[in-house]
């Protein structure tokens, strides 16, 4: 009799636990959806600074960005060393115009994995625009505080083996679904990159990362800080900007 009662108790506890797990999974997926929703806009125009710190030296690159619906974007570098270099992301492809060669080139294949303008971001990092919730399965890990902010910690596993980062770990702020921190992993489990949000602002009801930092852990003593200046969301942007003719 006592044994029976013990077995029943264990069974009830197990049922309770198992019933909670789908809840956690659903919660994780919803959190990830909210993170994705933070990045939805019809258009975006801003100036920016990319500060590359590498081996004790600092390189500052300035640029202007035009973006449309998270799909297409146009970047023109304005600092003296790179003036005239332009990138166009359109229909999932990345084109570059170099004033040295006066040619438009398509960046594809192995080139996409290379560092963009010497920064800690790769070209692939800059052209990925599909929602994380469609590319990854999210698992809730725990709650954690980051820089005084309460966060959910999510583990993301890539759905397709062709993803550049097979696993990610995200720290998502509970108050506004900012991605406060992220870690990017290879299939082997090696950590490849770290992202940290330094500052965000509420613009037209959306929380936007105004200053953030990326570290490529395969490079010694290297980090890149991105700063957004003069941001305009959902302003009218001409379609002509997102054409290869505009690159020349």
């Amino acid at each position: 009799m006592r044994v029976m009662r013990f077995i029943v108790r264990i069974a009830m506890i197990s049922v309770c636990l198992l019933s909670v797990l789908p809840v956690f999974a659903q919660q994780a997926a919803e959190i990830l959806d909210q993170v994705d929703d933070n990045e939805i806009y019809e258009s975006i125009i801003h100036e920016g600074e990319m500060i590359i710190e590498y081996q004790g030296r600092t390189f500052v690159k300035t640029f202007k960005v035009w973006g449309r619906e998270n799909k297409d974007s146009f970047i023109e570098f304005t600092n003296p060393e790179d003036r005239g270099t332009k990138y166009l992301k359109k229909d999932g492809r990345l084109y570059v115009y170099s004033p040295d060669t006066e040619q438009v080139m398509l960046i594809s294949g192995h080139m996409l994995k290379e560092s963009m303008m010497g920064s800690d971001m790769s070209y692939e990092d800059t052209i990925e625009n599909e929602r994380l919730s469609r590319r990854y399965t999210a698992t809730f890990l725990e709650d954690e505080k980051v820089d005084g902010r309460d966060c959910w910690v999510l583990d993301l596993t890539a759905i397709k083996p062709t993803e550049s980062y097979q696993k990610r770990r995200l720290w998502v702020a509970k108050d506004n679904f900012d991605m406060v921190r992220a870690e990017f992993y290879a299939l082997s489990g090696s950590k490849l990159k770290e992202y940290t949000l330094i500052r965000s602002e509420l613009i037209q009801g959306q929380s936007f990362p105004m200053e953030s930092e990326m570290r490529d852990l395969l490079r010694k003593n290297s980090k890149t800080t991105f700063r957004v200046i003069n941001l305009e969301l959902n302003a009218p942007v001409s379609d002509r900007i997102f054409s290869t003719r505009n690159l020349r």
Partner: protein, 419 residues
């Protein structure tokens, strides 16, 4: 008289004597051939390292040295004097280096990794050099002692042109007149895109260059990479390689603390091979000892077979030392004859190998790409080496037979005659 007896005894069992001579001969031949091969490899490696990588003395900045496997251009040669920082121009570097009397020529160079667009070959090494000055000082094809150009021409100064190796051209499907779109990272950490036109194809008989390298004019590359007139490396060639340390000392005084200066002997491959010389002699010694086992066995068998004869010799008044001497000299004569055969065959083989090189690429299946050595190998023919190995073979073999020969000294004449 005893030597004559020993000499005549060799002919008593011709088959056994021939076997001993053959064994020693093979060992000596092998040692001479391998010695010649290794010398050829060492010389090849040293020449390749000096021509393509370090010259006799190489100067780079501290920052470059820390990251040299990435070949960064963000750390050109710099000077720090009186607390102020500045960079050396390439003309200044050349002037300073060539002010030393031991210096034959100083050449600024830039090496940088590049990614190729639209090509099965994904990456290449771009080599920016002063082509005219390099051709005055170096033979790029060390086998044929030519500049290595097989088709077309070298690029003009400051031109949007390049030459590539035969293997790269074949792998990438490129010809003269084609352009190679590529991307590099400049001195200011910018992506720089360039499409030089191929004006020529070279064959340096060095896989790493022929497969992976694109040679361009240094002045054009300096401009594209935002280096101005600065250089990433200064490669200095001496009149006599023995002056390398002196040149290094002189340049350290002139170029300051922030510059790392190395001689060609500091190169990893050169240092490694030089440090392994003693190992090869040990291996050769082991071979010789193994070959000598046949003579040792022969001596032991001779003593056993001629034990009555030893007893007779003792009974007739020969001293133990004299008996030992006879057997020892038999072994020495066999060693000398064997070493002579080995030296003759080894000499012929190494002379032929010094005239007609081995195709290392075919022999190794291309497996020596990471080794700084030409695709063809000439053996070194050296009469000094032949004489040295002759004595090496004789001495080792003879030493091995001392103890067995001593066995004959312990044979009691009375006991021996009773057998």
């Amino acid at each position: 008289m005893l030597s004559v007896i020993a000499w005549r005894n060799i002919g008593r069992n011709r088959r056994r004597s021939i076997l001993c001579i053959t064994a020693v001969g093979i060992a000596v031949f092998f040692i001479i051939f391998m010695n010649s091969w290794m010398d050829g490899m060492f010389i090849g490696i040293e020449n390749t390292v000096r021509t393509y990588e370090t010259g006799h003395v190489l100067a780079v900045s501290e920052g470059f040295e820390a990251e040299k496997e990435y070949l960064p251009v963000q750390f050109p040669l710099e000077k720090v004097f009186g607390g102020t920082e500045d960079y050396f121009s390439d003309d200044e570097l050349i002037r300073l280096a060539e002010s030393l009397p031991e210096v034959r020529g100083a050449l600024p160079r830039i090496q940088i990794h590049a990614s190729l667009f639209d090509n099965v070959v994904k990456h290449a090494l771009v080599w920016g050099i002063d082509i005219d000055r390099e051709r005055e000082i170096n033979h790029f094809n060390l086998t044929k002692r030519t500049d290595g150009l097989v088709y077309g021409r070298f690029p003009a100064n400051d031109a949007n042109e390049c030459v590539i190796g035969t293997a790269l051209a074949e792998k990438a499907g490129l010809r003269i007149g084609d352009r190679i779109p590529l991307k590099m990272v400049s001195a200011e950490f910018s992506d720089k895109y360039w499409s030089p036109e191929i004006t020529g194809i070279f064959e340096f008989d060095y896989r790493k260059m022929d497969e992976d390298t694109i040679i361009v004019p240094i002045d054009r590359l300096q401009r594209i990479l935002g280096l101005g007139d600065r250089a990433q490396q200064l490669v200095v060639f001496a009149h006599d390689q023995r002056d390398s340390e002196q040149i290094k000392a002189g340049m350290e005084q002139m170029l300051g603390d922030r510059t790392v200066i190395r001689t060609w002997t500091d190169n990893y491959w050169v240092a490694m091979y030089r440090s392994m010389t003693w190992l090869y002699y040990i291996i050769f010694g082991v071979f010789q000892v193994v070959a000598s086992f046949l003579i040792v066995n022969t001596v032991l068998m001779m003593i056993h077979e001629r034990i009555k004869e030893i007893g007779m010799m003792g009974a007739l008044g020969m001293k133990r030392a004299e008996i030992v001497f006879v057997f020892f000299m038999e072994a020495v004569y066999l060693s000398i004859l064997g070493a002579t055969v080995g030296v003759f065959l080894g000499g012929v083989a190494t002379w032929v190998g010094s005239q007609f090189p081995f195709d290392m690429t075919t022999i190794t299946g291309g497996g020596m790409k990471d080794l700084p050595v030409s695709g063809t190998l000439y053996l070194v023919f050296s009469p000094t080496m032949l004489i040295q190995n002759f004595f090496f073979g004789v001495v080792i073999s003879a030493l091995c037979t001392i103890i067995p020969s001593l066995k004959s000294a312990f044979v009691e004449p009375v006991e021996a005659l009773r057998r």
